[in-house]
Symmetry: D2
């Protein structure tokens, strides 16, 4: 399955009075990692993917995370994001955040490929992931 | 076990280009709900609790969330937060976010009561939750 | 001119490793205060205003802020927001954040009432503020 | 005076329902730019500077910003940060955010070099910027 790794620098505004990352900020970083993985698999910018396919994005439907080691201001960490399952309109991913090789956080998430409701009602619904993206995400 | 409910209003800056809450912003809201529950159980402000007990807070160690219905700008939702387990130095909680009575998100989380390391090294370690707070959190 | 005051509680995730509010978080709070003022003047929810008038919101065009006293985790502060000028498609406001009566921050901002471009191109442009809202914002 | 330029990518979570950056997120980006400039001038990590000098950071005291062109999800922009004045314990900076060469935002800010109060009271006070950093920030 496809995977992608990027560096993430912990900024001042990501940290709380305990001097460690406020955990919702990790989730913002993982959201960026998911976008970068889709971008790398598709070979084009995610903003272009959303526009071309008329979707609203890939909202989160299920997430679980274990926090083992905290990260602090100025830490340069690695986030490795891997596809674990590609469904018709959903996508499972895993993020592993490491600091100097030590595993700090492990996350499993499920996203849905979402479009405006096709019956014209307000709200969103699952839509099929484009075939070429399914192939790319399933690849090595 | 102790529980506490509060209203949360979805603000403009909580929402993404799809017009729904950017999921890490929900986690910031749940973090506030956890603080409000501890405050309500202890009968004093969380900033005072942290200062009096010389702790650094109650960092997240484990969280899982299911997102069923999105929330949008201007929604007024309810977050009900319940204690599910009180350990010596850890605490399990559940958040249920509802909109007009419909369940939108369900979250389980585990927090650790954390203090600076007692051996003087940098970093944090688990510390016993104060007995009166254990009693209050375990109560009805 | 119209004004509106609300309480704001400084949450854990609003604060940085120095234990004080990370300044961009104040701006998120002021953004909410601007929405609350428009809501109070219009007598209806801002999400409804945006939908009914087909606008995209009231993006910031100019802001200046002076920070005199920091705010810390758990502080309960007041934000008083006042209209200082109502133009055809722009709006000037002032925010004063006080803690126990002491002025902590003073902000001047200019917003534009913005709609999708009327020529069908991408992007946004200024649009006239609805007359009844102009009257309400100009009122006492 | 010293200056530093970096690229900033607009992420999904930086944008609002109008599809443009929620303005407080720009300020978080400018805060990072200020840190990067200090880091580049000092030749060491900002976390190390804070630790070595026993300071609490460089909180904002005054800021003004003009927003001319919005930025959207996926935009890759440049932020050029320049020192405009170096005082004994304060620092004035300017940020210019450009997209494909077009100026989108211009910011002036004043920071104070801040340490815990030397009389042992709670709170912070201005402290002299280290001489070698003053020299580096004043340099070309």
């Amino acid at each position: 399955m496809f995977s992608n790794t990027r560096e993430w620098i912990v900024e001042w505004g990501d940290c709380d009075p305990a001097g460690i990352v406020f955990f919702p900020r990790f989730f913002a970083a993982f959201d960026t990692s998911t976008s970068r993985l889709i971008e790398a698999a598709a070979g084009k910018r995610t903003a272009a993917i959303i526009r071309e396919h008329g979707i609203v994005g890939w909202p989160m439907v299920d997430i679980s995370a274990k926090f083992m080691i905290p990260a602090s201001y100025g830490d340069r960490v690695e986030i490795e994001t891997s596809v674990t399952r590609v469904g018709r309109s959903s996508l499972s991913l895993c993020h592993r955040l490491t600091k100097n090789g030590a595993l700090c956080i492990e996350v499993s998430e499920v996203r849905v490929w979402a479009a405006p409701r096709s019956d014209g009602g307000s709200g969103i619904e699952g839509a099929p992931i484009p075939e070429d993206l399914v192939a790319a995400l399933s690849g090595g």
